[in-house]
Symmetry: C2
Subunit: 479 residues, 2 copies
Amino acid sequence: MHTDRQEPDRIQDDVPHPAERPDPPREDGEEERAYGVEPEFVEEVVERLHAGRRDELRAELDTLHPADIADLIEQLGHDDRESLIGVLRPDFDGEVLSYLNPDLREEIVELFEPKELAAAVAELDTDDAVDVIEDLDEDTRREVLENLPAADRALVQENLTYDEYTAGRLMQRDLVAVPQFWTVGKTIDYVRAATDELPEDFYDIFVVDPMHRVVGAVPLSRLLRQKRSVRIADLVTGEVDTIPATMDQEEVANLFRQYALVSAPVVDAGGRLIGVITVDDVVHIIDEEAEDDIGKLGGVGDTSIYRSVLETSRSRISWLGLNLFTAFAAAGVISLFEATIEQIVALAVLMPITASMGGNAGTQTLTVAVRALATRELSSSNAPRVVGKEVLVGLLNGAVFATLVGAIAATWFEPMIGLVIGCAMVINLFVAGLCGVLIPIGLDRLGVDPAVASSVFLTTMTDVIGFLSFLGLASLLLL
Amino acid sequence: MHTDRQEPDRIQDDVPHPAERPDPPREDGEEERAYGVEPEFVEEVVERLHAGRRDELRAELDTLHPADIADLIEQLGHDDRESLIGVLRPDFDGEVLSYLNPDLREEIVELFEPKELAAAVAELDTDDAVDVIEDLDEDTRREVLENLPAADRALVQENLTYDEYTAGRLMQRDLVAVPQFWTVGKTIDYVRAATDELPEDFYDIFVVDPMHRVVGAVPLSRLLRQKRSVRIADLVTGEVDTIPATMDQEEVANLFRQYALVSAPVVDAGGRLIGVITVDDVVHIIDEEAEDDIGKLGGVGDTSIYRSVLETSRSRISWLGLNLFTAFAAAGVISLFEATIEQIVALAVLMPITASMGGNAGTQTLTVAVRALATRELSSSNAPRVVGKEVLVGLLNGAVFATLVGAIAATWFEPMIGLVIGCAMVINLFVAGLCGVLIPIGLDRLGVDPAVASSVFLTTMTDVIGFLSFLGLASLLLL
């Protein structure tokens, strides 16, 4: 992890320096960037759009990777985006849609006629087509589906029968499946002959029994190594990880991650092979899930920068509203001690410190716990140990900061105030450590996503305990 | 994204329900879990460890995937972990090491003799071997290297000449490279004959010129489709994305993500092919980078749950220390208004509200900006638009909460206090929106990682402005 870049040079001492030792890494990130579009290029495109040099632009964009065209569309402002789509329209590459940010894609697809959209989507693999079609409004979706070739339509509609965020939605329908009794030679001949029906890229050949149930998988590199006479059934080793079509995409990602898979077969309720999920889809899910966790911990439902002001504002209000409740709970605690504060105004000056330190220490624990729950590292087997550890860390750091803050407060105001704030600090950092790990574990057991709700409960606790312990101790000891 | 699960049922109306419609997804996540070890299994293992039934245990664990053995080790307590390693020791599978959490791996490798470790590491691919060896202390590393077979040692040492977190460290050295003039048939024959020197899994055949510079890549599925007489050079389409060995791993991950790659060739400074990076390594990096961002935003250097109490406590102290500075800055602002608070104690009750709301609104903006910078969606081309949007969102939500909080405060205390807190709220949410996006962009331009430092600057701003605007306006309007 980046934060652990300790002694990166130490290693150099032990190893020979070959003649072709590469150049040292360049310091400026920009120059090494080997993908996507540069800001200068974006400016150039905008200039040409404004100057109406459309044919020239179309010719240049024709040489770009669809991912880069998607990147370009993302970088443009709203109006330029529309005129660029106008330029690309006559021969629009459907792949661009599947590389676009989903929020932006919703905006872009509205610029097309359903027929044009169907033509673009027809070029895509089933999983990518489903990805585009599932977000359309009902009418557009129906029209697009009607304009798809019948075979594509059937596959897309079948995928759509599965719930969103399940393996059934993600799977690619084209795949290579052969019976157990085939040989390597026959399999290769089949692939050579059936090239039109096969997916563009595939990594495993699946071996099925007469009921089309998965018996095993043979990676292409294993197939390629063998003589033509070898039986396919003999190449299958170990159990293959089949994915039920109803499995949640987060579980799918965990499965790929756990066993470092490149592709895996998807089966229906009867165990029949119906599709395949490849790792490139899983990369998207891992990104999405991480984004999701980051967004929830930061109190935003969606980390996309492509939403409108109103949508963004609305999506954040619920979180701020909850926080307002917390803030008033804290204000309520303070109001209990109005008389004390009136006598010693120094308390008003110092009181945010305990609450703030508790909130931050609790957030540290919470971040670790939420992430460990998401990656399944924190389980019922090790939960008691982790809770114990976090409580100890809280007490230890509480002691450290109690000394520090106590000394400062004692110097600034008077010794007894230093003692009060020091004790309050230990109490609050202990509570922060305890709640920081117990709240997410508790929510997880109740079936609530710990990333989204933990933080409010935690800050309520650390604010209330922070003010209560500080002002309460002050009332007892100073008045 | 999960937060957008709107109308998941709407789709069902448009599509036929085939007879083999799958079972609805099960509600309880546990049952669907198809990987890793269950808590019951962990308990069983612990029982057998304590009962000394080692042979029985060893036989059972022999059937497990190395990833699951790693999982099991992670779930055990410290002492049980040691005895389990004792059981596994005689014939330890090196793969287990590469699946272990890196923090825990450091603890586990210390239980082995360098010779045993060398034997375990020798089974691994270069990239996984490097991953284990790079974390060893200097003496152990030298001993392990000495005990490796000479060919492996040379490759591992060469990878170690590259900086940590670069492509050179990640790359797998075994690969399949063929000259341009070969045919499909000759390539297949070569793979069949050279099977011992080849990596266990590979996805692309790389085509090189006589100087060993990469000319192109041919995915295995494309190779397999072609007749034996086709020339390899004719199968290479488009430019291949080569990765300089000095490229940062984050850039590598972005490249794979951008173009949905499965494997990519790594080249030295002269453009010669020296290794290959495959997507399973990239999945780890994406996880690590996301973990890194989550950790930094949460104020923890490392989200691992396997560190000791002391290490964990120490790693969090610097962040809490910075936060203490922020808290004292806020206290300093409050102390300017001691006289005002002494006259109107209600101010002390309400003052945390403005600061807290500003902090939360700012964190929302910050989360989005930091993530958009990390995934390169936020660039100089669209920065002004994003800043403008966030400021508008801040003003809009400021107005909403000003009204709400103002009304509550006016009822609780007096109308003028409601007006003061309302105005302060608009000011602070405007500042929060502005700083929430400008601080990470500014840090990014200065070459500082925005995930790690933004949050402190932001809370300092929102605390200071929150207290200053509320208490300042109160002094002006209420006294």
